[in-house]
């Protein structure tokens, strides 16, 4: 962290933001011209990117359902982005209307927007915090008022950790979160990878390097290593579309082309 915590972040709307690019990929209009331009450039490199994003979103949905099926009723969604259809609380409430969700993001615009949407919702909270500061994040008053950390929580780090570079040691960060969670808690991760299609992923990395959120692709082993301290849930870390697909979901012929790994672990 080069920026001392007392120095407020400057908001530069000319700089594409991962949250708004993601919204654009999903067909939303919560984005600005620079976001769209960057997203278009990305699509130029990987035309299936919108499909990849949808698949990621579908994984998020499956992971939330899995958590609910496992009896977990609280969600900590870090890197939640701009609310869009199929938000965690919507998915969760289909099963438990009182499910609790804490949305966390660093993107001040995404946070402000989320707050506007969820202002009146008693079971959700939106926290502006950085995943790289676990202790500070977990100590947030609003988060504490919404989630009971003494009971199991599903920690969602979906399409988040590839925005954390090696210098910030994501495995250590995850370990520090894991320590704060009650046994029975779940950890869901989806993560970009270069395994499979190197030329394109390199081009992607270069593209994202010029956004507010540079990318770090990781290998399967590196992603699996993020689950240190968690017991793997079947089928472990796999290419994202292969993680417990719904019966009606089409499993693509070449899942590695989705450039993502996904997995869920349980804290013993």
């Amino acid at each position: 962290m080069e920026r001392p915590s007392w120095a407020p972040e400057q908001i530069d709307l000319d700089l594409p933001s991962a949250a708004r690019m993601y919204d654009y990929f999903l067909g939303g209009s919560h984005n600005f011209a620079p976001d769209r331009a960057a997203a278009q450039a990305a699509i130029g490199i990987i035309p299936e990117l919108p499909a990849v994003m949808r698949a990621n979103r579908a994984f998020l949905r499956r992971a939330v359902r899995f958590a609910l099926d496992s009896g977990v009723r609280q969600f900590l969604d870090i890197g939640s982005g701009i609310p869009t259809v199929g938000n965690v609380h919507e998915v969760a409430r289909a099963i438990d209307p009182q499910a609790r969700v804490a949305y966390v993001d660093t993107d001040p615009v995404a946070v402000t927007h989320s707050r506007a949407l969820l202002a009146d919702d008693p079971y959700t909270v939106v926290v502006e915090a950085d995943v790289r500061e676990p202790e500070r994040l977990l100590a947030d008053d609003g988060l504490r008022a919404t989630l009971d950390l003494d009971r199991p929580v599903a920690l969602l780090m979906v399409a988040l950790l590839h925005f954390v570079g090696p210098a910030d040691d994501p495995a250590d960060l995850v370990r520090r979160y894991g320590r704060a969670l009650a046994p029975g808690s779940l950890l869901a991760i989806s993560h970009g990878t270069g395994d499979g299609r190197t030329a394109e992923s390199d081009a992607m990395l270069r593209l994202y390097a010029d956004t507010a959120n540079p990318l770090t692709a990781r290998t399967r082993d590196e992603v699996a290593a993020l689950f240190d301290g968690f017991e793997p849930v079947e089928p472990g870390v796999v290419f994202l579309p292969l993680w417990r697909p719904d019966e009606a979901d089409e499993v693509p012929a070449r899942p590695e082309r989705f450039c993502s790994y996904a997995g869920v672990g349980r804290k013993p």
Binding site: Q10, G27, G28, R57, A116, L117
Partner: protein
């Protein structure tokens, strides 16, 4: 349009096929087909079955659309909007919906179909447009709100920083890379005595004391600005606009831009003038003598050690160590204020004489020392010592007194290699002592042989007590004969030290030391009893024994235990008192107490003779009543008696006089140092009764005496 023509059969096949299979599709079947068509075209969070279920009411609405065109269109519009509401926002979703629905609406609804589909498309487009605008609006508002929030936070932070800047007790300046001040805070302004606006735009280095400015500039540009170090701390002098000089503790940091290039300098300073002055005063006080203002022992020691500094030692060095002769008397008789004033004046004269190239320090009391590092040789230091003595030649006028002063100086000059500070100071100390012993008002140079001899003496005196315990002393006996018949009448017991390392040492080597250390008393006691035991052993063995003569040191004679010691030796050995003779010097005879003790011993029967008579100061009147039986003539008078023609006339006269005096007082005379017959003959002619010397035997082991006894 040929391709269109080719496609037609397929299309008509479909059309034919559908009504045949299901003339009126149910909402469920329509919804399933519709879901299959649009699945995956937009991002929705629904699974395929969920999607189909979701589409069912819409399908029902379409199937129930009235034939009347506006109403049919309204139904379509509703469904189009509903699609967007379910997040089907992709154009592809619309396209596929139109194709799928167009093909599946039942034939009896054919009239309504265009209106329904037109309505669906327009409803979709309108809803998408609304949605897009709404989302754009909401994200824009979110962005604005976030920006406002961030700006407010930034302003708050800036306000806080401004507060820190203006309220800080530390002086802070922000400068460009050339050192020109962009901003200065009130604390700095107060420190430099100029309002902040007067500081703005000025060159920092102009505010720095000229002597320090160059160094500071180099420090900043070489270390900080080039990136070698991001912060320097230093202390420099500043000159205020009103001409005051102040010491500023300064921390200069460089602020870099995102690319890491230096862009600003930030300097923080505090006024350390008071602390600096205090520190200077304290250092000065710690290293200087309050009375004279000269360097003190601390500073001198530090400089002395520095001359031996491993990294840059001085090649040679010299020290003049001096103290004033008789200063204590002046101090005691005229009082301390006068003494102090004298020291001040002397210090001034010394300083003039010594000059700036050497360090002059007062070590305490009236001790001064001059340290000359990198000296060229002893001559240089001797010359310096001469100058110092000359500087003290003229008397000092203090409080109405004209005081004559002189000093003794120990001079040491040597190469630093092979010695150390402690060694130098020890040598200086000894040398000063020599100078004093040699008669004051003079200098002495260090003499290593003399020092070694003294050191050896010192070692001996340290070993003495142990030697006595270890019984390293023995006695040798020298015969004394009757000059008329050469019969053995006595022996003189002479103490020897069988030193384990140095071999056999004569009394000259250690008696002086024993006197100084007081060890002569126990040693004398041992000699007495050993001699008495020996004489008694001879008596027992040969039936007779010569009288045994023991030398008494002054301290023994004056000691309270003399009578007891002699009696104990006699009693312990069983020797008759008459066989013991005590030899003492003229000096030992002075005073009433020794005389009383000797009288007692005399009454006991012990014989007493005066050794080396005529060489000391005799109270002749006293001699008349003293309990003395005889005298021994010193060899210094008898030496010339060996001359072939005749003895030295003066010697002859003296010996004659001494003999006649002795005989008048009824004292026997023993001539010592008799080496030749001629000597013996002449001395006997003059009346000496006894003789002692090499002619009759050197001091020897008891066994040698026994040969004489046996004959």
């Amino acid at each position: 349009m040929s391709s269109g023509a080719r496609r037609r059969p397929a299309a008509s096949r479909t059309r034919r096929h559908v009504p045949a299979e299901a003339a009126r599709p149910t909402p469920a079947r329509l919804a399933d087909a519709w879901a299959a068509a649009i699945a995956g075209t937009s991002f929705v969070s629904l699974t395929r079955p969920e999607l189909a279920r979701h589409l069912r009411p819409l399908a029902a609405r379409l199937l129930a659309a009235p034939l009347d065109a506006p109403a049919a269109r309204a139904a379509g519009t509703e469904v189009g909007r509903a699609l967007v509401a379910a997040h089907f926002t992709a154009p592809e979703t619309l396209a596929r919906s139109l194709v799928a629905l167009g093909g599946m609406l039942p034939a009896d609804r054919a009239a309504a179909r265009p209106s329904v589909l037109a309505g669906l498309a327009s409803g979709f487009a309108a809803a998408l447009r609304d949605r897009t605008l709404t989302e754009q609006e909401s994200i824009r508002q979110a962005a604005m709100a976030a920006q406002t929030r961030a700006e407010r936070a930034l302003r708050a932070t800036e306000a806080r920083f401004r507060a820190v800047f203006t309220c800080a007790a530390t002086g802070i300046a922000l400068g460009d890379l050339t050192g020109h001040i962009l901003e200065a805070n009130p604390a700095l302004a107060a420190m430099l005595g100029a309002p902040p606006e007067r500081l703005r735009g000025r060159d920092v280095f102009e505010l720095v004391h000229p002597d320090d400015a160059v160094g500071l500039r180099e420090l900043i540009y070489q270390r900080v600005a080039t990136g070698a170090a991001d912060r320097i701390r230093t202390e420099k002098r500043f000159v205020t606009d009103d001409g005051r000089v102040l010491w500023g503790g300064l921390a200069v940091s460089v602020v870099r831009d995102q690319e890491g290039r230096p862009s600003y300098l930030v300097a923080m300073g505090e006024d350390n003038t008071r602390r600096h002055e205090l520190a200077e005063t304290l250092t000065y006080q710690a290293t200087h003598d309050a009375l004279t203002g000269l360097a003190n022992r601390t500073l001198f020691t530090e400089r002395l050690h520095r001359a031996f500094d491993r990294t840059a030692p001085a090649e040679r060095l010299g020290v003049c160590f001096l103290d004033l002769d008789g200063f204590k008397i002046i101090n005691d008789s005229l009082g301390h204020p006068v003494g102090d004033e004298l020291l001040r004046v002397v210090a001034g004269r010394l300083a003039d004489a010594v000059g700036p190239d050497s360090l002059l320090a007062r070590l305490g009391g009236d001790e001064f020392v001059v340290l000359r590092a990198d000296s060229t040789g002893e001559a240089e230091l001797v010359e310096l010592a001469e100058r110092i003595l000359a500087a003290l030649d003229s008397p000092v006028a203090v409080a109405g007194h004209e005081l004559a002063v002189s000093a003794s100086i120990g001079v040491v000059e040597r190469a630093t290699f092979g010695t150390d500070p402690a060694e130098v100071m020890r040598a200086a100390d000894i040398t000063l002592y020599w100078a004093k012993a040699a008669g004051k008002g003079r200098w002495a140079t260090f003499d290593s042989e003399r020092d070694a001899a003294q050191a050896a003496r010192h070692q001996l005196s340290e070993a003495l007590p142990g030697a006595l315990r270890a019984e390293e002393f023995t006695l040798a006996y020298q015969p004394v004969v009757d000059l008329t018949d050469l019969r053995l009448t006595g022996v003189e017991a002479l103490v020897r030290w069988r030193h384990p390392r140095l071999g056999l040492l004569g009394p000259d080597a250690f008696l002086g030391l024993a006197e100084e250390t007081g060890l002569v008393v126990p040693l004398g006691r041992w000699v007495l009893s050993a001699a008495c035991r020996q004489a008694r052993a001879w008596l027992d063995r040969y039936g007779w024994a010569p009288q045994v003569s023991v030398n008494l040191a002054v301290r023994e004679v004056c000691g309270a235990s003399l009578v007891d010691d002699v009696r104990a030796a006699l009693a312990g050995s069983g020797l008759p008192a008459g066989l013991l003779q005590l030899e003492l010097t003229e000096r030992a005879l002075m005073g009433a107490e020794p005389t009383a003790a000797l009288r007692t011993l005399c009454e006991d029967g012990v014989r007493i003779v005066i050794d080396d008579f005529g060489t000391g100061y005799s109270n002749l009147a006293h001699l008349r009543h003293a309990p003395v039986h005889g005298i021994k003539l010193a060899r210094s008078f008898t030496g010339s008696f060996d001359a072939p023609a005749h003895p030295d006339r003066a010697d002859l006269a003296i010996v004659r006089a001494l003999m006649s005096l002795a005989h008048t007082l009824d004292l026997t005379v023993t001539a010592s140092g008799v080496e030749t017959r001629r000597q013996a003959h002449r001395l006997r002619e003059l009346g000496a009764e006894h003789g002692q010397g090499w002619l009759y035997g050197r001091p020897a082991e008891p066994a040698h005496i026994e040969q004489l006894l046996a004959t």
